[in-house]
Symmetry: C2
Subunit: 351 residues, 2 copies
């Protein structure tokens, strides 16, 4: 026992008052994402969100809620190093809502968890504003979150962030891959770059080759920091716009291309009775991928870890494929037909 000494929470590295200031500053970012369905008030223990658009009755006959949790991996470490935090906020939302829409769900709201060494409101506000921007792109509300100061768990200047999103879909409109059938067509939507997976490998390549993040490379047409930290594309409007145009089941499966690349993620979207064939020559990977490859990653490993330029796959009944391509083209989604479904046992072949 220590005599005459007294410990306070603030001495221990946690400043409740600074936290109150921070909470105020993020409220306007949150407010920018609110629609009429948000019911909660600032300071509440939990965020409240009305399921129906109208004030009375219910828009869904058999609502199915869909939930996702995801982070952005070690892309945070690159973002911190390059002092580019806004994009990480968009990445965080993207990783979650792009998963959510694979079920056919409309994103409703998002919550974030931010764990920091020390709360630096000026630096971190940029991150929250990125999250709010991502939420606006995904038409969902930033309903709440948690910011935790943990000086003994995170190194100085470091932080980690996790996100969580909830959506809803009418039960008979859920998409879970069980209707995928031989003959279906795989339509790929371009990624904006590496998105948010494979950054332990990206960072390894940068370190081992002593690459300068601030250097502008001719083959990239921009600095390395700009190329590797480009925010993940959010596919919500393209995909939900398309789905709402069909009353029939034109889209039978969808895959968000994350860790594991095209093969592993498309495998999650098809049933056990089908295979998928993906034609690697049917699109042109953006320059960041050949750039990484030439700095020491084998081609097979590239396809196992990265999206290689296709961030989202729709599996479409062949009779609707032309119409789907046209609609996606019209919405500016730049789709490519990248493969098709055959009879099989749940495998994906890249050729």
């Amino acid at each position: 026992m220590v005599d005459r000494q007294s410990f306070s929470y603030k001495d221990s590295g946690v400043d409740i008052d600074a936290n109150a200031v921070w909470v105020k500053r993020i409220q306007s970012a949150m407010g920018s994402t609110y629609g009429p369905r948000v019911l909660s008030s600032a300071g509440a223990f939990a965020g409240m969100f009305r399921l129906s658009n109208g004030n009375r009755g219910n828009d869904y006959k058999q609502p199915v809620l869909v939930g996702c949790a995801d982070g952005v991996g070690t892309k945070v470490l690159l973002g911190i190093k390059a002092k580019r935090l806004f994009g990480l906020g968009i990445d965080l939302v993207a990783m979650n809502v792009n998963d959510l829409i694979t079920c056919g769900a409309e994103p409703l709201f998002f919550l974030d968890y931010l764990a920091v060494n020390k709360l630096d409101p000026n630096a971190l506000l940029e991150l929250i504003e990125g999250i709010a921007d991502g939420c606006r792109q995904a038409d969902c509300a930033l309903l709440g979150g948690e910011t935790a100061e943990m000086p003994d768990l995170y190194a100085k200047g470091d932080f980690d962030l996790a996100g969580f999103s909830v959506g809803v879909v009418e039960q008979r409109r859920t998409i879970d891959g069980q209707h995928v059938a031989p003959g279906d067509v795989l339509i790929g939507l371009p990624s904006s770059g590496v998105h948010s997976n494979g950054y332990s490998l990206v960072r390894r390549v940068i370190t081992a080759n002593k690459l300068n993040l601030k250097k502008k490379f001719d083959e990239l047409g921009e600095t390395l920091a700009e190329a590797v930290l480009k925010p993940t594309k959010i596919y919500v409007r393209d995909v939900l716009g398309l789905l709402s145009a069909y009353r029939v089941r034109a889209v039978t499966g969808m895959a968000h291309i994350t860790g594991g690349g095209l093969a592993e993620n498309v495998a999650r979207a098809i049933g056990d009775g089908c295979d998928a064939v993906i034609e690697k020559g049917s699109w042109q990977p953006p320059p960041i991928f050949p750039f990484i490859q030439k700095h020491g990653v084998k081609p097979a490993e590239m396809f196992k870890v990265f999206n290689m330029g296709i961030g989202f796959i729709l599996i479409v009944r062949s009779r609707y494929a032309a119409g789907v391509m046209r609609k996606l083209d019209d919405s500016g989604a730049s789709p490519h037909v990248v493969g098709h479904v055959t009879r099989g046992t749940g495998k994906v072949r890249l050729r």
Copy 2:
């Protein structure tokens, strides 16, 4: 550029195959929490949860979804040190669902985010099983989650975890404190101990006094590790059981006592037109609180940081207070009348 060298994702510290094994092992823990409303299948991009109990129609006329995000703070560091991870899983669920029920919401599902230095399935399975146990106590489904290996962000053996939960409440049954009125009675439910807030201070006290976590202290009646790592009480069944017994608004507000203690959290539960008075002598704080205090924390700071033995407060119309007390007693919740509401300006006075 490095000649002849080739980098793989596994070399970079991320083992996708080990992750696949881990995913399999947590599926049985998740399955133990599933009811008939869970629709999703393993390996899906997102978890699906049917809002209605019946297969047809909708149980809610105007469903309001409620969402929370929270972590367990630096209690993780103590849990890691003492090798007691199961309880941390319960803490994680508790921190979220106890927030959720303050709105009157029924918890539906939970998702976790676990970020680790290195995936050690044997050690971390205990944590996931704790999360599943917490979900069963809260009658909600562990619908999914994300495990991220980030060797460069977390020190060896360290991890962080965040949780997210979603609930639902009929709109006319939401509780948001706007009906709190002078004369209402504050009923406190006992905490199991420190719960999951204030651990930077707890750890400071332990370190500065060189206290041994494994030592059994007479005044605690158990080891220090047991006392400070006791899992957070989950109030879901006590509170929802009580609410379902009333068709009228017997409960006008609720507060989960977290960081900021009784004063700050009860203030969040009352409107601007009321004050609350809490009588500090109306319950007996469990031994861990005087223990911490005598090792160097001032009484006022104790009340600002810790729950001091009351983990949850219900604000109840006085005419229903006796009935509420009886019902909570019958359910084994051991309630105490700890104060009352007066006219005021949103302040909370402890006396």
